[in-house]
C-alpha cells in the first residue's frame, strides 16, 4: 500500500466536511451576515444524517440510505440556520450572539433527541454510511489514483460544489447581488435588490452546506453521532473561510490544508524522519504555518465591508 496515496486520501476525507462548511460560511458572510454558528450547523447536519441514515437503513433502503441522511442534514441545517436568520436579519440582533445561540441549541437539542430516540443512549447506532467509489481508469494512476480518485462520493461532490459555487458567486447576476448586499446594502437596495431576502438566502445556504459538511463526518468517518463527533471543525471551517479570503477556491485550498493537518496525525509514526520530533510539534505545525502565511501574505484580509451590520433602511 502506498503511504503517500493513503495520506492524500485521508486528507480529502477530513477536508470534505471543512470544504462544505466553509463554502457555507462564504455564502452567509458574503451576504453580510457573520456566521459563528457553523459549528452548531455542522452538529445539526451530523445528527440529522446519523438519525435519518439510520432509519433509512433500517427501512432497507441500502445504498440509498446515506443519501437520505444527507437530505435530512440539508433540511435540518436550513431549519437551524433560520433561527440565526430570524434573529439577526428580521430582529436585527447582534449576529455574533445569534450564531453562538445556534452552537448552544445544536449541542443541547441534538444530544437530547438522541437520548429520547435511542433509549437514553448517548450515541446513535452505528451506520454503514458511504463506501468509497473508484473512478474507472483514473484510479489506476499511481499515488493520485489511490489518493484522489478512490474517494467517497461526498468528496467528489465537495469538489464539484467548489466550482459551482465559485461560478454562482462571481459569474451570475444572483452572485453579484448577494455580494453587493454584503458590501454595500443601501446601494444594492437603491438598485432594487431585496437586501433581507438575499441575506436570508445566504444564511439558509450556509445552513444547508454546513449541514452537508456535518453529515459527511457521520456518514464517512465516525458512522455515529455523539457529543464529540463535531468538536471544533466548525471553527476550523471559519478559519478556512477567512484564510481563503471569502473565495470558494481559496477556502478549498485552506480546507484541504487543515484536512491534511488532521490526517497527518494518523500517519506521523509511519515516517522515519518524524519519530525523533515530539509529536505535538508536528500536530501544531499546520496552525503555526497558517499564522506565518497570513503574516507574510501581502494585503489585508478582505472581509465583506458590511459584514456584521444589520441592514436598517432608515439609517444611512
Amino acid at each position: 500500500m502506498d503511504v503517500l496515496g493513503q495520506l492524500l486520501n485521508t486528507t480529502l476525507v477530513f477536508s470534505t466536511a471543512l470544504i462544505f462548511a466553509s463554502l457555507g460560511g462564504i455564502f452567509s458572510e458574503r451576504s453580510g451576515v457573520v456566521n459563528i454558528g457553523l459549528e452548531g450547523l455542522m452538529m445539526f447536519g451530523a445528527f440529522a444524517a446519523a438519525v435519518g441514515g439510520y432509519y433509512a437503513q433500517d427501512a432497507g433502503m441500502g445504498d440509498l440510505a446515506p443519501w437520505i441522511g444527507v437530505l435530512c442534514a440539508m433540511a435540518v441545517g436550513i431549519i437551524g440556520s433560520l433561527i440565526h436568520a430570524v434573529a439577526s436579519i428580521t430582529f436585527k440582533s447582534d449576529q455574533t450572539i445569534s450564531g453562538t445561540v445556534i452552537n448552544f441549541l445544536a449541542a443541547g437539542s441534538t444530544l437530547y433527541i438522541v437520548k429520547l430516540l435511542f433509549d437514553g443512549s448517548a450515541e446513535t447506532p452505528l451506520l454503514d454510511g458511504f463506501t468509497k467509489y473508484a473512478i474507472p481508469v483514473l484510479s489506476k494512476i499511481p499515488i493520485i489514483g489511490e489518493g484522489i480518485f478512490n474517494s467517497y462520493p461526498t468528496t467528489y461532490l465537495a469538489i464539484v460544489m467548489v466550482i459551482v459555487i465559485y461560478f454562482i458567486l462571481f459569474k451570475t447576476p444572483f452572485g453579484l447581488r448577494l455580494r453587493a448586499v454584503g458590501e454595500h446594502p443601501s446601494a444594492a437596495d437603491t438598485l432594487g435588490v431585496n437586501v433581507n431576502r438575499m441575506r436570508y438566502i445566504g444564511v439558509m445556504m450556509s445552513g444547508m452546506l454546513a449541514g452537508i459538511g456535518g453529515a459527511t463526518i457521520t456518514l464517512t468517518t465516525t458512522g455515529t453521532f455523539g457529543h464529540n463527533t463535531i468538536s471544533g471543525q466548525g471553527f476550523i471551517a471559519i478559519a478556512a473561510m477567512i484564510f481563503g479570503k471569502w473565495n470558494p477556491l481559496g477556502a478549498f485550498g485552506a480546507a484541504v490544508f487543515f484536512g491534511f493537518s488532521q490526517a497527518i496525525r494518523n500517519y506521523v509514526q509511519l515516517f522515519e524522519w518524524s519519530r525523533d520530533i515530539p509529536q505535538e510539534f508536528i500536530f501544531m505545525l499546520p496552525y503555526v504555518l497558517t499564522i506565518i502565511v497570513l503574516v507574510s501574505a501581502v494585503g489585508r484580509s478582505s472581509a465583506p465591508s458590511a459584514l456584521g451590520q444589520p441592514y436598517d433602511p432608515s439609517k444611512r
Binding site: D94, T100, G108, A239, L294, V295
Partner: protein, 357 residues
C-alpha cells in the same frame, strides 16, 4: 428606595429577566414534549445547587473560571475585537502556573503562589497579545489567529506537561505544591474546592469597570472599539490600544487557568481535546451584555444551570444536555430583544394608559 424603583423601571433590567424566564419556559416545553416533568426537573436543578454546603461551594467553583473567561471575551468585545481564543489563553495560564508551582516549589508559599498566579496572568496576556499584535501591525483578523493559537496552546501545553512535568505512568503532571485553595472554608463547605480565584475574578470585574469607564486609557479603548477610524482621527494610537486590550483580555483568561490548576485540580492533565473554557466564556460575555457586572451575574446563572443540570438527570431523569437548550434560548432572547419587547408590549401599553389616567 427611589433609586431602586428607578433601576427596575428601566427596561434594560426587565428585558434580561424576562429573557431568562422565557428561556426556562422553552426548556419546560422541550421537556414536556419529551415526556419529562419540568417542575420536578427544575426543582432538582436548584436543589442540587443549593441543597448542601458542599454542592453550593462546588457550584461557586464552577462559576469562577466562567467569570474570568467571560470578562476576557467581554473586554475584547468592548475594544472592538472578538477573542475566540480564551480557551488557549486559559491553557497557557494553566501551564505557566503549573511550571512555576512545580519548579519553584522550594520558595515559601507566600511568594510561590502569587508568583505562579502572576506568571499565569502574564503568559495568558502575552498569548492573546500575539493576536493583538498581528491585528495591529498586519491587519490580520483576530478570529483566525485566536482559533489557530487555541490549537497551538493545546499542543504546546501537552508537550510541556509530557516532557518536563509528567507524573510517571500517568497522563498528567506531578502534583503542584502551590495551592490557591481556601482551606479555612473546608469545614464550612464540606471540603468543596473553593479557591482564591473567585476573589480574583470579582476584583477583575471591578478593575474592568473602573479601567474602561473611569480612566483616560479606558476611554480611548472604548473609542477604538466603537469606531477605530474616528479614534485614529482624534489622535489615538489604534494599534497600541488593540494590543493592550487583547493583553488585558488574555490576563483575565490566564488567571482563570491559574485558579483551575492551583485551586481545583492541583495538577495539569494532558488534554485529549479542547477543554472548552473559551466557548463558555463567549456565552457568558454575551449573556452579561459585555458589562463587567453583567458578566459576573451571567457567570452565576450559567454556573448554576450547568452545575445543577447534573442534579436534573439524577433527580428527574432528564438528559443534562437540556440545559444547553435553556442557556441557548436565554441568550437568544437577550440577543433578539425585539422579541422580548414584543412579548412585553401589552404591559407597556397598560402602564402608559395608567399614566394618562
Amino acid at each position: 428606595m427611589h433609586k431602586l424603583k428607578k433601576i427596575f423601571a428601566t427596561d434594560s433590567y426587565i428585558v434580561p429577566l424576562v429573557a431568562i424566564l422565557m428561556g426556562f419556559l422553552v426548556g419546560a416545553i422541550v421537556m414536556l414534549v419529551g415526556g419529562y416533568d419540568p417542575v420536578a426537573a427544575y426543582s432538582a436543578l436548584f436543589k442540587r445547587v443549593f441543597g448542601s454546603p458542599y454542592d453550593f461551594g462546588e457550584a461557586v467553583r464552577e462559576m469562577t473560571p466562567l467569570m474570568l473567561t467571560g470578562l476576557a471575551v467581554a473586554f475584547a468585545f468592548r475594544s472592538g475585537m472578538f477573542n475566540i481564543g480564551a480557551d488557549g489563553q486559559v491553557i497557557i495560564g494553566m501551564t505557566a502556573a503549573t511550571i512555576v508551582g512545580i519548579k519553584l516549589a522550594a520558595l515559601p508559599s507566600f511568594l510561590l503562589v502569587p508568583l505562579a498566579v502572576i506568571a499565569a496572568g502574564l503568559c495568558g496576556g502575552l498569548w492573546a497579545g500575539i493576536a493583538g499584535y498581528l491585528k495591529a501591525k498586519r491587519g490580520i483578523n483576530e478570529v483566525i489567529t485566536t482559533i489557530m493559537l487555541n490549537w497551538i496552546a493545546l499542543f504546546l501545553a501537552n508537550f510541556i506537561v509530557r516532557t518536563f512535568l509528567l507524573l510517571p505512568g500517568q497522563n498528567r503532571s506531578e502534583d503542584i505544591p502551590a495551592s490557591m485553595s481556601m482551606t479555612f472554608l473546608n469545614s464550612m463547605f464540606d471540603n468543596a474546592r473553593l479557591h482564591w480565584g473567585t476573589a480574583i475574578a470579582l476584583a477583575a470585574a471591578v478593575f474592568f469597570y473602573v479601567y474602561l469607564w473611569k480612566t483616560k486609557q479606558g476611554y480611548e479603548m472604548r473609542a477604538v472599539g466603537l469606531n477605530p477610524h474616528a479614534a485614529e482621527y482624534a489622535g489615538m494610537n489604534v494599534g497600541r490600544n488593540v494590543v493592550k486590550a487583547m493583553f488585558i483580555s488574555g490576563v483575565f483568561a490566564g488567571l482563570a487557568g491559574a485558579g483551575e490548576v492551583l485551586g481545583v485540580f492541583h495538577f495539569q492533565s494532558v488534554f485529549a481535546a479542547s477543554p472548552g473554557y473559551g466557548f463558555d466564556g463567549i456565552a457568558v460575555a454575551l449573556l452579561g451584555l459585555t458589562h463587567p457586572f453583567g458578566v459576573i451575574l451571567a457567570a452565576i446563572l450559567y454556573g448554576t444551570l450547568t452545575y445543577g443540570s447534573a442534579g436534573m438527570s439524577f433527580g428527574a431523569d432528564v438528559p443534562p444536555e437540556l440545559i444547553r437548550i435553556v442557556i441557548g434560548s436565554i441568550i437568544f432572547f437577550i440577543a433578539a430583544q425585539g422579541i422580548v419587547r414584543w412579548v412585553l408590549k401589552p404591559f407597556y401599553l397598560k402602564r402608559k394608559k395608567e399614566k394618562v389616567l
